[in-house]
Amino acid sequence: MTSFRKPKIQRKNEPLNDLGLARVDYEGAMSTLCAGCGHDSVTACLTKAFFELSIDPAKAVKVSGIGCSSKTTNYFLNDAHGANTVHGRMPSVATGAIAANSNLIYLGLSGDGDSLSIGLGQMAHAMRRNVNMLYMLENNGVYGLTKGQFSASADLGSLPKKGAPNEYPAIDPVALALSVGATFIGRSFSGDRKQLVPLIKAGLKHKGFALIDVISPCVSFNDHKGSTKSYAHTYEYYHQAVHADYVPPTDEIKASYDEGDVMPIELHDGGIIQLRKLDQNYDPRDRAAAFQKVMDSKATQEIVTGLLYIDETQPDMHEIQKMEDRPLNEIPYSELNPGAEKLKALQGAFR
């Protein structure tokens, strides 16, 4: 029989993670995206990151909107919770879910259309509230699912497969995130799993809103000459500024590092993000400098990647709103709904 389904095969001697799970336990349904789609690489990197972090798939929540990227929640972590929501409304569904149960690990999956056009307001407010989630923005500059119209992230002057060049400036999700208060901002490329997997791990461990803008080329509609989101263009202008590695709390930090080259940032769980600065004099803890760097790179068309900004000190939405730590479904009904008398007393207190 011929088949295009990826069989679930465990090699002999294949390593298991701390939960005793194998790589295949983190996989999902076979992708139906076009062969060569960058999103599939992002899916593979997410699978690997969750496996390596030994996150129980049943403790993860995948939320997405509409689009090629939003379809990918089906292609990994089969045992996780998930919601494919309304176009551009993923951030509010995720926010609500986190309010109901903050003990799970939240992953938002979206694309440039879902996030920067119809869902721009939603995304900006989730960042502003510092909602504790990892938000993956799979960015290919086109609406792939509707046959390749330019999206809001298409660069000015970028050429479509057919027709006239793009005449509107691009919305840069990294610049936007810097301006509205996100506390973990990275950019990467679907073709660079060495950078992307550790970045995803760091983003999952960061407490607060983590945005990773991933250049993820559309092989069908935006991988031609003149496109600024093609594989060829990305490889040519790719520039790594800062490399982030997540070191779990249990691991000893083995390598001694020179101050200035490697910068450790301690996370809330006791783990550490080790930042390897590939550009000297760049400090990813400095929001203004990050903004400057991103703006400067626009002039040179350089695609600056890595963990571009991090602030581990800001409180997240949960903390700011003094929310309940226990999942709502574990709280006894009598406590959730103390009754009309208690409500009356509360209202009385406001009079």
């Binding site: 029989m1 011929t2 088949s3 295009f4 389904r5 990826k6 069989p7 679930k8 095969i9 465990q10 090699r11 002999k12 001697n13 294949e14 390593p15 790589r23 992708s31 076009c34 062969a35 060569g36 789609c37 960058g38 599939d40 690489s41 899916t43 593979a44 690997k48 679907s190 073709g191 799993r193 080329p217 092989v219 991988d223 594989y231 060829a232 490889y235 040519e236």
Partner: protein
């Protein structure tokens, strides 16, 4: 590190583990595909090209292919290759008109073949249709050599043996039975253009310990099996001890049970992991309630009133190191085990009492003839050796390969060419792609476990000496077993200039055998890029030329690839393709012309 040269025919050949491990290089996945399509006759004929005796080997081959099978890297057991070979033989139609024919005219060259075993028959198979006049001399009055005399009929029925030997005899081969060659000198004086010695390893080893001289009822295994095969021996005592745990020992113990023995013990000097017998032969013997006793070393035969009553063994304790090697041993006790008969199955060697010292054929210090490993020529021009006679005991499939190679040499010799000028193997590749998600082979991974051969009931099988134990595969077993084959001969072929480095192949690979990585100095550095490199089984690391966009290279661990074709399916630019590799082996009738010596 330099890019891999896949134009070397050996590169892709080696990827097909079973074919590479087979001495005769039978194209296993190709014939399994034919079986899957119900094309049994074609599967049989494809087998026959390389291994000559598919029906025989489908039962009793030593199966070097199976331990090599790629399937074992993800599954408990290999594909039942040998059993499927028998399927092709069992279900074939009448293929006689598709076999090489007796030529209308001979070429006048006369070849003497000594010993009617698999080696001589293979030489005759290759040369007779070309016009050579082949004469086989056999000392016994039935042909087959060891296949007849040492392999019991309950494993290899006589009609199966004779049918395949007759195919070759019908090519115009002259078989002289009951005609031992008593003198090499005399033979050489006759008018032969070439002589081939395929007399096997007919001398069973003896055990010189106290009490050996005094008794009947102590038998040399291969002589005893021969005497059973030719119906000179029809009974054995109730209690039988077999000394040795090779495959001959397994045949001896199982034959004893059919001749009246009620208690058969196989006595092994070492622990089980050191046994020489194939696992399946051990299993089959144990299924018949043969007892295998380890760590007993023979010390003496015991007689009472001139009758064998038992044997004394030293019980031995071994020290093993972590690698499992024996580092020390000591005797802990002497044990007496009563018996009526003892069969010695502790090895065999080739012996040539009929070759005179001054015949011009050199022997080394172990009395083994000095034979060229490529041409199979002895130190005397025009005299060739093959099978167990050449390098000592091996197995049938090695004898077949020796026969093919000797046939090429004999042809070159008769044509006056240099013997070493042999046409090398060639590898032809053709794409297996038929369309989107459509391949010319069954690329889906089927996780079914190996099918188990059905056997005749124990009571039934002991009634007659020649009741074949194995029943062959049922239709359902065939249908499942063929799908277990991974089609390793459908190769992943990579065109670096087409790659856009989208990583789709890497992401989809179910065993993570691909990576794109910066160029490195050596293989170890490159392997570091693979998430799990399982360098083993002698398989290579494929390294592409530099990729156009980033200058990195694509690498692939050939060891764990399952040939599922998903890399090629997901590749947007067809940089990866699945291509069927067809190894062309040139036999004697297909040698390119070469200048006269």
């Amino acid at each position: 590190m330099k890019p891999t040269d896949t134009s070397d025919p050996d590169y892709f050949h080696k990827v097909v583990d079973c074919q590479w491990a087979c001495p005769a290089h039978t194209p296993v996945p190709a014939y399994i595909r034919l079986i899957a399509q119900g094309r049994y006759s074609e599967a049989y004929l494809l087998n026959r090209e390389s291994n000559v005796f598919p029906g025989i080997l489908g039962r009793v081959c030593d199966r070097p292919c199976e331990p090599a099978c790629r399937r074992t890297r993800v599954d408990e057991e290999p594909v039942a290759i040998c059993r499927l070979k028998r399927v092709a033989a069992d279900h074939r139609g009448d293929i006689t008109d598709q076999l090489p024919k007796k030529p209308e005219n001979t070429n006048g060259k006369r070849i003497a073949l000594i010993g009617a075993g698999p080696a001589s028959f293979t030489v005759a198979n290759d040369l007779a249709p070309m016009g050579y006049e082949c004469t086989i001399f056999e000392k016994l009055d039935k042909p087959g050599g060891l296949m007849r005399s040492n392999i019991p009929a309950f494993r290899l029925p006589e009609d199966v043996l004779m049918e395949e030997l007759d195919y070759i005899l019908n090519m115009g081969v002259d078989l002289k039975l009951g005609s031992p060659v008593a003198s090499m000198q005399a033979l050489l004086k006759e008018d032969w253009d070439a002589v081939f010695v395929g007399t096997g390893a007919p001398k069973g080893k003896d055990l010189e310990i106290p009490g050996r001289q005094d008794a009947a009822n102590i038998h040399i295994g291969i002589d005893w099996l021969e005497s059973v095969a030719f119906e000179h021996t029809k009974a054995i005592g109730k209690q039988v001890l077999i000394i040795g745990v090779g495959n001959t020992a397994m045949d001896c113990c199982r034959t004893s049970l059919r001749l009246g023995a009620s208690s058969v013990k196989v006595m092994a000097r070492k622990p089980r992991e050191f046994f020489k017998a194939s696992d399946w032969e051990l299993e089959d013997a144990e299924e018949e309630n043969v007892e295998i006793i380890v760590n007993h070393s023979p010390k003496a035969f015991v007689h009472e009133n001139g009758k064998l009553t038992g044997m004394v063994f030293e019980q031995i304790e071994y020290d093993l190191n972590l690698a499992g090697a024996i580092t020390g041993q000591r005797v802990t006790a002497d044990v007496m085990i009563p018996c009526d008969d003892v069969i010695l199955a502790i090895g065999q060697e080739n012996a040539f009492p009929w070759i005179e010292e001054d015949a011009g054929i050199e022997f080394d210090k172990w009395d083994v003839p000095v034979i060229d490993k490529v041409t199979f020529e002895s130190t005397k021009r025009g005299v060739f050796f093959g099978g167990d006679a050449a390098f000592g005991p091996e197995n049938i499939i090695w004898a077949v390969e020796h026969g093919h190679q000797a046939a090429i040499s004999i042809h070159n010799h008769c044509e006056g060419r240099v013997l070493t000028e042999r046409t090398p193997d060639e590898m032809a590749l053709k794409s297996a792609k038929m369309g989107m998600m459509e391949w010319r082979y069954s690329n889906a991974y089927d996780d079914a476990p190996r099918r188990k051969m059905r056997h005749v009931e124990l009571v039934e099988r002991f009634k007659k000496l020649d009741t074949e134990v194995e029943l062959g595969f049922s239709a359902e077993q065939i249908a499942t077993e063929v799908e277990r084959c991974l089609n390793c001969d459908v190769h992943t072929v990579f065109e670096a200039p087409l790659c856009t480095e989208c990583d789709a192949c890497i992401d989809v690979c179910p065993v993570e055998c691909l990576a794109i990585t910066p160029v490195a100095e050596n293989e170890d550095a490159l392997r570091g890029a693979l998430s799990a490199s399982e360098n083993g089984n002698g398989q290579s690391l494929y390294v592409s030329s530099e990729l156009p966009l980033s200058g990195r290279v694509m690498i692939k661990d050939e060891n764990i690839c399952l040939h599922c074709g998903l890399c090629a399916e997901r590749c947007p630019t067809a940089a990866w393709d699945m291509q069927e590799g067809i190894l062309q082996i040139h036999y004697a009738d297909d040698q390119a012309g070469s200048p006269k010596a």
